[in-house]
Amino acid sequence: MRKVAIVAAASRQEEKMLDTEVEMMIPLISEVKAKTGLDQTEIGFTCSGSSDFLAGQAFSFVMTLDAVGPVPPISESHVEMDGAWALYETWVKFQMGIIDTALVYSYGKPSPGSLQDVLSTQLDPYYVAPLWPDAHAVAGLQARTLLEQGIINVDQLADCAVRAGTVESREEYFSQPMLSDPLRKADCPTYADGGVAMILAAEGKAEELCEKPAWITGIDHRIDVHHFGVRDFTTVPSARIAAEKAGVHDGPIDIAELHAAYTTHDLLLRKEMGLPETPNHSQRSYPIKADTLMASGLLRIAEAARAIWEGDANRALAHATAGPLLQQNLICVLSGEDT
Protein backbone atom coordinates (compact mmCIF):
# COMPACT_ATOMS: atom_id res chain seq x y z
CA MET A 1 0.00 0.00 0.00
CA ARG A 2 1.12 3.52 -0.79
CA LYS A 3 2.05 5.55 2.27
CA VAL A 4 -0.34 8.39 3.02
CA ALA A 5 -0.22 10.86 5.91
CA ILE A 6 -2.34 13.49 7.50
CA VAL A 7 -0.30 16.67 7.33
CA ALA A 8 -2.70 19.36 8.59
CA ALA A 9 -6.02 19.61 10.40
CA ALA A 10 -8.32 22.31 11.70
CA SER A 11 -11.53 21.94 13.62
CA ARG A 12 -14.11 23.81 15.59
CA GLN A 13 -16.99 22.77 17.83
CA GLU A 14 -19.53 24.96 19.58
CA GLU A 15 -22.84 24.21 21.16
CA LYS A 16 -24.73 26.47 18.76
CA MET A 17 -23.19 28.25 15.84
CA LEU A 18 -24.55 31.28 14.05
CA ASP A 19 -22.41 30.72 10.97
CA THR A 20 -23.78 28.83 8.02
CA GLU A 21 -21.97 25.68 7.02
CA VAL A 22 -20.04 27.70 4.44
CA GLU A 23 -19.11 30.40 6.92
CA MET A 24 -18.03 27.76 9.41
CA MET A 25 -15.93 25.79 6.94
CA ILE A 26 -14.09 28.61 5.14
CA PRO A 27 -11.77 29.47 8.04
CA LEU A 28 -11.05 25.79 8.69
CA ILE A 29 -10.29 24.97 5.07
CA SER A 30 -8.25 28.16 4.72
CA GLU A 31 -6.29 27.20 7.81
CA VAL A 32 -5.22 23.79 6.52
CA LYS A 33 -4.34 25.26 3.15
CA ALA A 34 -2.27 27.96 4.84
CA LYS A 35 -0.52 25.41 7.05
CA THR A 36 0.56 23.40 4.03
CA GLY A 37 0.94 26.31 1.63
CA LEU A 38 -1.32 24.51 -0.84
CA ASP A 39 -3.70 26.29 -3.16
CA GLN A 40 -6.93 24.52 -4.15
CA THR A 41 -5.54 24.03 -7.66
CA GLU A 42 -2.64 22.06 -6.14
CA ILE A 43 -4.97 19.67 -4.32
CA GLY A 44 -5.56 16.45 -6.24
CA PHE A 45 -8.86 15.38 -4.76
CA THR A 46 -11.45 16.81 -2.39
CA CYS A 47 -13.98 14.75 -0.45
CA SER A 48 -16.53 15.62 2.21
CA GLY A 49 -19.16 14.07 4.46
CA SER A 50 -22.45 15.52 5.71
CA SER A 51 -26.16 14.78 6.01
CA ASP A 52 -29.18 16.39 4.35
CA PHE A 53 -31.42 15.27 7.21
CA LEU A 54 -29.28 17.11 9.69
CA ALA A 55 -29.30 20.25 7.55
CA GLY A 56 -33.03 20.06 6.84
CA GLN A 57 -32.41 20.57 3.15
CA ALA A 58 -31.91 18.35 0.12
CA PHE A 59 -28.51 18.69 -1.58
CA SER A 60 -27.25 20.71 1.38
CA PHE A 61 -23.60 19.87 0.60
CA VAL A 62 -23.82 21.68 -2.74
CA MET A 63 -23.72 25.13 -1.15
CA THR A 64 -21.03 24.12 1.31
CA LEU A 65 -18.78 23.29 -1.62
CA ASP A 66 -18.36 27.07 -2.03
CA ALA A 67 -16.10 26.97 1.03
CA VAL A 68 -13.49 25.11 -0.97
CA GLY A 69 -13.35 27.59 -3.84
CA PRO A 70 -14.07 25.08 -6.63
CA VAL A 71 -13.21 27.47 -9.47
CA PRO A 72 -11.57 26.25 -11.64
CA PRO A 73 -13.43 22.94 -11.24
CA ILE A 74 -12.07 20.27 -8.93
CA SER A 75 -12.03 16.51 -8.74
CA GLU A 76 -14.44 16.00 -5.89
CA SER A 77 -16.83 13.60 -4.18
CA HIS A 78 -19.19 13.52 -1.22
CA VAL A 79 -20.40 10.79 1.08
CA GLU A 80 -23.63 10.95 3.04
CA MET A 81 -21.61 9.64 5.95
CA ASP A 82 -19.30 10.85 8.66
CA GLY A 83 -16.23 12.54 7.20
CA ALA A 84 -14.11 9.61 8.37
CA TRP A 85 -15.52 7.67 5.43
CA ALA A 86 -14.72 10.59 3.12
CA LEU A 87 -11.16 10.17 4.33
CA TYR A 88 -11.39 6.47 3.50
CA GLU A 89 -12.61 7.19 -0.04
CA THR A 90 -9.71 9.62 -0.37
CA TRP A 91 -7.18 7.11 0.94
CA VAL A 92 -8.39 4.71 -1.77
CA LYS A 93 -7.76 7.40 -4.42
CA PHE A 94 -4.19 7.68 -3.15
CA GLN A 95 -3.82 3.93 -3.59
CA MET A 96 -4.74 4.31 -7.26
CA GLY A 97 -1.64 6.42 -7.55
CA ILE A 98 -3.44 9.31 -9.24
CA ILE A 99 -3.15 11.94 -6.51
CA ASP A 100 -0.46 13.21 -4.15
CA THR A 101 -2.54 15.60 -2.05
CA ALA A 102 -6.14 15.78 -0.90
CA LEU A 103 -8.54 17.87 1.13
CA VAL A 104 -11.09 16.12 3.35
CA TYR A 105 -13.74 17.87 5.39
CA SER A 106 -17.01 17.29 7.15
CA TYR A 107 -19.44 19.18 9.27
CA GLY A 108 -22.70 18.95 11.11
CA LYS A 109 -25.05 21.45 12.66
CA PRO A 110 -27.47 19.58 14.88
CA SER A 111 -28.55 22.73 16.74
CA PRO A 112 -31.32 23.90 14.37
CA GLY A 113 -33.17 20.60 14.41
CA SER A 114 -34.47 18.04 16.81
CA LEU A 115 -31.58 15.62 16.66
CA GLN A 116 -33.43 12.83 18.43
CA ASP A 117 -36.17 12.93 15.80
CA VAL A 118 -33.56 13.01 13.06
CA LEU A 119 -31.79 9.98 14.50
CA SER A 120 -35.05 8.03 14.77
CA THR A 121 -35.40 8.25 10.99
CA GLN A 122 -32.22 6.19 10.67
CA LEU A 123 -33.91 3.12 12.14
CA ASP A 124 -35.78 0.34 10.33
CA PRO A 125 -38.56 2.33 8.60
CA TYR A 126 -41.22 -0.39 8.85
CA TYR A 127 -40.85 -1.85 12.33
CA VAL A 128 -38.88 0.56 14.48
CA ALA A 129 -38.84 4.17 13.21
CA PRO A 130 -42.66 4.51 13.47
CA LEU A 131 -42.24 4.00 17.22
CA TRP A 132 -39.75 6.92 17.35
CA PRO A 133 -37.36 5.49 19.92
CA ASP A 134 -34.66 8.07 20.54
CA ALA A 135 -30.94 7.39 20.51
CA HIS A 136 -30.69 7.46 24.30
CA ALA A 137 -33.40 4.80 24.60
CA VAL A 138 -31.66 2.56 22.08
CA ALA A 139 -28.42 3.00 24.03
CA GLY A 140 -30.32 2.29 27.24
CA LEU A 141 -31.53 -1.08 25.91
CA GLN A 142 -27.97 -2.05 25.15
CA ALA A 143 -26.63 -0.68 28.44
CA ARG A 144 -28.96 -2.86 30.52
CA THR A 145 -27.87 -5.98 28.67
CA LEU A 146 -24.22 -5.09 29.20
CA LEU A 147 -24.75 -4.46 32.90
CA GLU A 148 -26.99 -7.43 33.60
CA GLN A 149 -24.71 -9.83 31.79
CA GLY A 150 -21.78 -8.53 33.82
CA ILE A 151 -19.86 -7.37 30.77
CA ILE A 152 -19.43 -3.96 32.34
CA ASN A 153 -20.40 -2.60 35.74
CA VAL A 154 -21.76 0.71 36.94
CA ASP A 155 -18.50 1.74 38.54
CA GLN A 156 -16.87 1.49 35.16
CA LEU A 157 -19.60 3.71 33.73
CA ALA A 158 -18.98 6.25 36.46
CA ASP A 159 -15.23 6.20 35.91
CA CYS A 160 -15.69 6.59 32.19
CA ALA A 161 -17.97 9.59 32.75
CA VAL A 162 -15.30 11.12 34.97
CA ARG A 163 -12.63 10.53 32.32
CA ALA A 164 -14.87 12.09 29.69
CA GLY A 165 -15.49 15.05 31.98
CA THR A 166 -19.27 14.88 32.06
CA VAL A 167 -19.03 14.62 35.86
CA GLU A 168 -16.27 15.47 38.33
CA SER A 169 -16.50 12.37 40.49
CA ARG A 170 -18.15 8.99 41.02
CA GLU A 171 -20.26 10.59 43.73
CA GLU A 172 -21.57 13.20 41.35
CA TYR A 173 -22.26 10.48 38.80
CA PHE A 174 -24.30 8.39 41.19
CA SER A 175 -26.23 11.42 42.40
CA GLN A 176 -27.61 11.99 38.89
CA PRO A 177 -31.09 10.69 38.13
CA MET A 178 -31.60 8.20 35.32
CA LEU A 179 -32.02 9.68 31.86
CA SER A 180 -32.65 6.47 29.96
CA ASP A 181 -32.50 3.89 32.71
CA PRO A 182 -29.86 2.47 33.34
CA LEU A 183 -28.08 5.43 31.68
CA ARG A 184 -27.67 8.75 33.41
CA LYS A 185 -27.19 12.08 31.73
CA ALA A 186 -23.45 11.78 32.29
CA ASP A 187 -23.45 8.60 30.19
CA CYS A 188 -25.12 10.28 27.22
CA PRO A 189 -23.83 12.73 24.63
CA THR A 190 -24.23 16.46 24.50
CA TYR A 191 -24.41 17.57 20.89
CA ALA A 192 -22.45 20.36 19.26
CA ASP A 193 -22.24 22.12 15.91
CA GLY A 194 -18.89 21.79 14.27
CA GLY A 195 -16.63 20.98 11.40
CA VAL A 196 -13.21 19.65 10.60
CA ALA A 197 -10.88 20.00 7.62
CA MET A 198 -7.65 18.19 6.89
CA ILE A 199 -5.00 17.77 4.25
CA LEU A 200 -3.58 14.39 3.30
CA ALA A 201 -0.44 13.78 1.29
CA ALA A 202 1.43 10.82 -0.10
CA GLU A 203 4.95 9.80 0.73
CA GLY A 204 7.38 12.16 -0.90
CA LYS A 205 4.98 15.08 -0.61
CA ALA A 206 3.92 14.67 3.00
CA GLU A 207 7.43 15.29 4.36
CA GLU A 208 7.54 18.60 2.46
CA LEU A 209 4.26 19.78 3.93
CA CYS A 210 4.63 18.67 7.53
CA GLU A 211 7.47 18.28 9.97
CA LYS A 212 6.11 15.06 11.36
CA PRO A 213 3.46 13.51 9.12
CA ALA A 214 0.90 11.28 10.81
CA TRP A 215 1.16 8.21 8.60
CA ILE A 216 -1.91 6.06 8.05
CA THR A 217 -0.57 2.57 8.71
CA GLY A 218 -3.94 0.90 8.52
CA ILE A 219 -7.55 1.80 7.82
CA ASP A 220 -10.63 -0.38 7.54
CA HIS A 221 -14.37 -0.12 8.05
CA ARG A 222 -17.18 -2.63 8.39
CA ILE A 223 -20.92 -2.69 8.95
CA ASP A 224 -23.01 -5.02 11.11
CA VAL A 225 -26.57 -6.19 10.77
CA HIS A 226 -29.23 -3.55 11.39
CA HIS A 227 -32.21 -5.61 12.56
CA PHE A 228 -32.25 -5.09 16.32
CA GLY A 229 -33.56 -8.57 17.04
CA VAL A 230 -30.53 -10.13 15.41
CA ARG A 231 -27.95 -7.82 16.94
CA ASP A 232 -26.00 -9.21 19.85
CA PHE A 233 -26.00 -6.14 22.09
CA THR A 234 -22.87 -7.34 23.85
CA THR A 235 -20.51 -7.36 20.88
CA VAL A 236 -19.45 -5.14 17.99
CA PRO A 237 -18.19 -7.56 15.35
CA SER A 238 -17.63 -4.81 12.79
CA ALA A 239 -15.30 -2.90 15.11
CA ARG A 240 -13.42 -6.07 15.91
CA ILE A 241 -12.88 -6.95 12.25
CA ALA A 242 -11.97 -3.38 11.29
CA ALA A 243 -9.47 -3.15 14.16
CA GLU A 244 -7.82 -6.37 13.09
CA LYS A 245 -7.68 -5.36 9.42
CA ALA A 246 -6.31 -1.95 10.34
CA GLY A 247 -3.50 -3.63 12.25
CA VAL A 248 -4.41 -2.27 15.66
CA HIS A 249 -2.73 -5.23 17.33
CA ASP A 250 0.52 -4.96 15.41
CA GLY A 251 2.01 -2.69 18.04
CA PRO A 252 1.25 -0.70 21.17
CA ILE A 253 -1.47 1.96 20.96
CA ASP A 254 -0.52 5.13 22.84
CA ILE A 255 -3.78 6.92 22.41
CA ALA A 256 -7.22 5.80 21.26
CA GLU A 257 -9.55 8.49 20.01
CA LEU A 258 -12.91 6.77 20.09
CA HIS A 259 -16.11 8.09 18.61
CA ALA A 260 -18.05 6.81 21.59
CA ALA A 261 -21.07 8.97 22.31
CA TYR A 262 -22.04 6.89 25.36
CA THR A 263 -19.95 5.58 28.23
CA THR A 264 -21.23 2.11 27.39
CA HIS A 265 -19.97 2.50 23.84
CA ASP A 266 -16.56 3.60 25.07
CA LEU A 267 -16.20 0.59 27.35
CA LEU A 268 -17.59 -1.91 24.87
CA LEU A 269 -15.38 -0.65 22.03
CA ARG A 270 -12.27 -0.91 24.17
CA LYS A 271 -13.22 -4.44 25.10
CA GLU A 272 -13.91 -5.44 21.50
CA MET A 273 -10.63 -3.97 20.29
CA GLY A 274 -8.56 -5.25 23.18
CA LEU A 275 -7.65 -1.76 24.37
CA PRO A 276 -7.03 -1.00 28.03
CA GLU A 277 -9.83 0.84 29.72
CA THR A 278 -7.48 3.66 30.57
CA PRO A 279 -4.91 4.28 27.88
CA ASN A 280 -1.53 5.74 28.67
CA HIS A 281 -2.77 9.10 27.54
CA SER A 282 -6.42 10.05 27.81
CA GLN A 283 -8.37 10.99 24.77
CA ARG A 284 -7.84 14.61 23.74
CA SER A 285 -11.58 15.26 23.66
CA TYR A 286 -14.69 13.19 24.12
CA PRO A 287 -17.75 12.91 21.90
CA ILE A 288 -19.79 12.30 25.07
CA LYS A 289 -19.11 15.95 25.89
CA ALA A 290 -19.56 17.27 22.36
CA ASP A 291 -20.84 15.00 19.61
CA THR A 292 -21.08 16.48 16.14
CA LEU A 293 -22.96 14.06 13.97
CA MET A 294 -21.22 13.57 10.59
CA ALA A 295 -17.97 15.15 11.82
CA SER A 296 -17.20 13.38 15.09
CA GLY A 297 -15.40 10.51 13.40
CA LEU A 298 -13.20 12.70 11.23
CA LEU A 299 -12.54 14.85 14.28
CA ARG A 300 -11.24 11.76 16.11
CA ILE A 301 -8.82 11.19 13.26
CA ALA A 302 -7.74 14.84 13.45
CA GLU A 303 -7.18 14.51 17.19
CA ALA A 304 -5.14 11.34 16.75
CA ALA A 305 -3.01 13.15 14.17
CA ARG A 306 -2.51 16.05 16.56
CA ALA A 307 -1.38 13.64 19.25
CA ILE A 308 1.33 12.49 16.87
CA TRP A 309 2.34 15.97 15.71
CA GLU A 310 2.61 17.13 19.31
CA GLY A 311 4.59 14.09 20.43
CA ASP A 312 1.88 12.74 22.74
CA ALA A 313 1.77 9.48 20.84
CA ASN A 314 3.88 7.44 18.47
CA ARG A 315 1.04 5.22 17.45
CA ALA A 316 -2.57 6.35 17.69
CA LEU A 317 -5.90 4.79 16.94
CA ALA A 318 -8.89 6.77 15.70
CA HIS A 319 -12.39 5.39 15.46
CA ALA A 320 -15.60 6.53 13.80
CA THR A 321 -19.06 5.08 14.10
CA ALA A 322 -22.44 5.41 12.44
CA GLY A 323 -25.87 3.93 12.89
CA PRO A 324 -27.58 2.74 16.06
CA LEU A 325 -25.81 0.44 18.54
CA LEU A 326 -22.39 1.11 16.97
CA GLN A 327 -23.57 -0.60 13.77
CA GLN A 328 -20.90 0.71 11.42
CA ASN A 329 -17.31 1.29 12.45
CA LEU A 330 -14.12 2.62 10.93
CA ILE A 331 -10.69 2.23 12.45
CA CYS A 332 -7.65 4.21 11.40
CA VAL A 333 -4.19 3.65 12.86
CA LEU A 334 -1.71 6.51 12.65
CA SER A 335 2.01 6.41 13.28
CA GLY A 336 4.56 9.15 13.73
CA GLU A 337 7.37 6.87 12.71
CA ASP A 338 8.39 6.65 9.12
CA THR A 339 8.36 2.87 9.02
Binding site: L18, D19, T20, V22, E23, I26, P27, I29, S30, Q40, F53, G56, M63, L65, D66, A67, V68, G69, P70, V71, P112, G113, S114, D117, V118, T121, P125, Y126, A129, P130
Partner: protein, 184 residues
Protein backbone atom coordinates in the same frame (compact mmCIF):
# COMPACT_ATOMS: atom_id res chain seq x y z
CA UNK B 1 -40.19 -11.67 -6.65
CA UNK B 2 -39.93 -14.51 -4.18
CA UNK B 3 -43.05 -16.41 -3.21
CA UNK B 4 -43.72 -16.25 0.48
CA UNK B 5 -45.66 -18.92 2.34
CA UNK B 6 -47.98 -17.56 5.00
CA UNK B 7 -49.95 -19.56 7.60
CA UNK B 8 -53.39 -20.69 6.53
CA UNK B 9 -54.98 -18.41 9.10
CA UNK B 10 -54.35 -15.59 6.63
CA UNK B 11 -55.91 -17.42 3.68
CA UNK B 12 -58.41 -15.26 1.89
CA UNK B 13 -57.45 -12.16 3.85
CA UNK B 14 -56.73 -8.98 1.93
CA UNK B 15 -52.94 -8.53 2.19
CA UNK B 16 -51.39 -5.30 3.41
CA UNK B 17 -49.31 -3.81 0.60
CA UNK B 18 -48.38 -0.44 1.97
CA UNK B 19 -47.99 1.36 5.25
CA UNK B 20 -48.10 5.01 6.17
CA UNK B 21 -45.27 6.24 8.33
CA UNK B 22 -45.58 10.03 8.69
CA UNK B 23 -42.51 12.01 9.54
CA UNK B 24 -42.43 15.39 11.15
CA UNK B 25 -39.23 17.19 11.99
CA UNK B 26 -38.96 20.67 13.36
CA UNK B 27 -36.00 22.91 12.79
CA UNK B 28 -35.31 26.42 14.01
CA UNK B 29 -33.22 28.24 11.50
CA UNK B 30 -30.95 31.16 12.15
CA UNK B 31 -29.53 32.84 9.07
CA UNK B 32 -25.76 32.97 8.86
CA UNK B 33 -23.61 35.96 9.70
CA UNK B 34 -23.80 37.58 6.25
CA UNK B 35 -27.49 36.80 5.83
CA UNK B 36 -28.28 38.42 9.19
CA UNK B 37 -26.72 41.67 8.02
CA UNK B 38 -28.44 41.43 4.66
CA UNK B 39 -31.89 40.75 6.12
CA UNK B 40 -31.68 43.58 8.65
CA UNK B 41 -30.97 46.07 5.90
CA UNK B 42 -33.50 44.42 3.62
CA UNK B 43 -36.00 45.24 6.35
CA UNK B 44 -35.02 48.91 5.75
CA UNK B 45 -35.63 48.50 2.01
CA UNK B 46 -31.94 48.35 1.27
CA UNK B 47 -30.35 45.62 -0.82
CA UNK B 48 -26.83 44.68 0.21
CA UNK B 49 -24.22 42.87 -1.81
CA UNK B 50 -21.04 41.18 -0.61
CA UNK B 51 -17.75 42.49 -1.91
CA UNK B 52 -15.18 39.84 -2.70
CA UNK B 53 -11.95 40.47 -0.79
CA UNK B 54 -10.03 38.97 -3.73
CA UNK B 55 -11.06 41.12 -6.67
CA UNK B 56 -13.96 43.28 -5.55
CA UNK B 57 -16.59 41.27 -7.41
CA UNK B 58 -20.05 41.99 -6.05
CA UNK B 59 -22.18 39.04 -5.01
CA UNK B 60 -25.92 39.42 -4.42
CA UNK B 61 -27.48 38.22 -2.20
CA UNK B 62 -24.56 38.08 0.23
CA UNK B 63 -23.78 34.60 1.51
CA UNK B 64 -20.56 35.50 3.24
CA UNK B 65 -18.42 33.65 0.74
CA UNK B 66 -16.75 34.10 -2.62
CA UNK B 67 -17.18 30.62 -4.08
CA UNK B 68 -14.35 31.09 -6.57
CA UNK B 69 -11.78 31.35 -3.82
CA UNK B 70 -13.36 29.84 -0.73
CA UNK B 71 -12.91 33.26 0.85
CA UNK B 72 -15.02 34.89 3.51
CA UNK B 73 -16.72 38.09 2.37
CA UNK B 74 -17.18 40.51 5.22
CA UNK B 75 -17.58 43.75 3.30
CA UNK B 76 -21.00 44.93 2.16
CA UNK B 77 -22.12 47.42 -0.43
CA UNK B 78 -25.56 48.89 -1.01
CA UNK B 79 -27.04 48.01 -4.37
CA UNK B 80 -29.46 49.86 -6.63
CA UNK B 81 -32.97 48.49 -6.98
CA UNK B 82 -32.66 48.13 -10.73
CA UNK B 83 -31.10 45.55 -12.96
CA UNK B 84 -31.72 43.31 -15.93
CA UNK B 85 -32.85 39.81 -16.77
CA UNK B 86 -30.00 37.37 -17.40
CA UNK B 87 -32.39 34.64 -18.50
CA UNK B 88 -35.87 33.52 -17.55
CA UNK B 89 -38.50 30.81 -17.49
CA UNK B 90 -42.24 31.03 -18.08
CA UNK B 91 -43.72 28.48 -15.73
CA UNK B 92 -47.10 26.81 -15.98
CA UNK B 93 -46.64 24.50 -12.99
CA UNK B 94 -47.49 25.57 -9.44
CA UNK B 95 -44.71 25.61 -6.83
CA UNK B 96 -45.72 23.54 -3.81
CA UNK B 97 -46.54 25.85 -0.95
CA UNK B 98 -46.75 29.03 -3.05
CA UNK B 99 -49.86 30.58 -4.40
CA UNK B 100 -48.92 32.06 -7.76
CA UNK B 101 -51.11 32.84 -10.75
CA UNK B 102 -50.07 30.78 -13.75
CA UNK B 103 -48.17 31.30 -15.85
CA UNK B 104 -45.56 33.19 -13.90
CA UNK B 105 -42.10 34.33 -14.92
CA UNK B 106 -39.05 33.46 -12.88
CA UNK B 107 -35.86 35.15 -13.96
CA UNK B 108 -32.21 35.53 -13.11
CA UNK B 109 -32.04 39.12 -11.92
CA UNK B 110 -28.68 40.85 -12.26
CA UNK B 111 -28.70 44.08 -10.29
CA UNK B 112 -26.81 46.99 -11.81
CA UNK B 113 -23.22 46.57 -10.66
CA UNK B 114 -23.66 42.98 -9.46
CA UNK B 115 -21.53 40.15 -10.81
CA UNK B 116 -23.94 37.30 -10.11
CA UNK B 117 -27.70 37.01 -10.35
CA UNK B 118 -30.45 35.42 -8.30
CA UNK B 119 -33.74 33.77 -9.28
CA UNK B 120 -36.80 35.86 -8.59
CA UNK B 121 -40.28 36.63 -9.91
CA UNK B 122 -41.04 39.03 -12.76
CA UNK B 123 -44.55 40.44 -13.19
CA UNK B 124 -46.42 43.31 -14.88
CA UNK B 125 -44.96 41.84 -18.03
CA UNK B 126 -46.77 39.57 -20.50
CA UNK B 127 -44.67 36.41 -20.96
CA UNK B 128 -44.29 37.03 -24.69
CA UNK B 129 -42.72 40.43 -23.98
CA UNK B 130 -40.13 39.14 -21.51
CA UNK B 131 -36.59 39.18 -22.92
CA UNK B 132 -33.04 38.32 -21.94
CA UNK B 133 -31.44 41.70 -21.24
CA UNK B 134 -34.71 43.46 -20.37
CA UNK B 135 -34.27 46.11 -17.67
CA UNK B 136 -36.27 45.65 -14.46
CA UNK B 137 -36.88 47.34 -11.13
CA UNK B 138 -37.99 46.04 -7.73
CA UNK B 139 -41.60 46.26 -6.62
CA UNK B 140 -41.59 46.26 -2.83
CA UNK B 141 -44.31 45.19 -0.48
CA UNK B 142 -46.24 48.02 1.19
CA UNK B 143 -44.03 49.62 3.87
CA UNK B 144 -46.14 48.30 6.72
CA UNK B 145 -45.53 44.72 5.54
CA UNK B 146 -41.77 45.04 5.16
CA UNK B 147 -39.81 42.99 7.66
CA UNK B 148 -36.61 41.08 8.12
CA UNK B 149 -37.62 38.32 5.74
CA UNK B 150 -36.45 37.38 2.28
CA UNK B 151 -39.85 38.25 0.80
CA UNK B 152 -39.91 42.06 0.91
CA UNK B 153 -39.70 42.34 -2.84
CA UNK B 154 -42.94 41.12 -4.38
CA UNK B 155 -41.51 40.87 -7.85
CA UNK B 156 -39.56 42.75 -10.50
CA UNK B 157 -41.22 44.71 -13.28
CA UNK B 158 -40.00 46.15 -16.57
CA UNK B 159 -38.47 49.57 -15.98
CA UNK B 160 -38.08 50.67 -19.59
CA UNK B 161 -34.90 51.84 -21.20
CA UNK B 162 -32.80 50.02 -23.75
CA UNK B 163 -32.14 46.30 -23.22
CA UNK B 164 -28.71 45.07 -22.27
CA UNK B 165 -27.33 43.32 -25.40
CA UNK B 166 -27.39 39.53 -25.17
CA UNK B 167 -23.59 39.35 -25.22
CA UNK B 168 -23.45 41.45 -22.05
CA UNK B 169 -26.53 40.14 -20.28
CA UNK B 170 -26.39 37.83 -17.28
CA UNK B 171 -23.19 35.90 -16.67
CA UNK B 172 -21.82 37.12 -20.01
CA UNK B 173 -21.60 40.59 -18.49
CA UNK B 174 -18.66 39.55 -16.33
CA UNK B 175 -16.63 38.44 -19.33
CA UNK B 176 -17.65 41.54 -21.29
CA UNK B 177 -16.44 43.76 -18.45
CA UNK B 178 -13.18 41.82 -18.08
CA UNK B 179 -12.65 42.11 -21.81
CA UNK B 180 -13.34 45.83 -21.57
CA UNK B 181 -10.78 46.23 -18.78
CA UNK B 182 -8.17 44.33 -20.77
CA UNK B 183 -8.77 46.49 -23.79
CA UNK B 184 -8.68 49.71 -21.76
Amino acid sequence: MTDVNVPSSLDGVEPVQSVRTPIRMEYTFTPGVAAQTYLREFGNKKILGNVSPIDGAILVPPRGADPRHGALCEEFVEMPHTGHIGSYCVTNVPIPGRDLDLPYISAWIFLDGADVGFLNLVAECPPEECRIGMRVEAVWKPDEEIGMTAENILYWKPSGGPDIPFAEAGVRGWHARKQGETNA
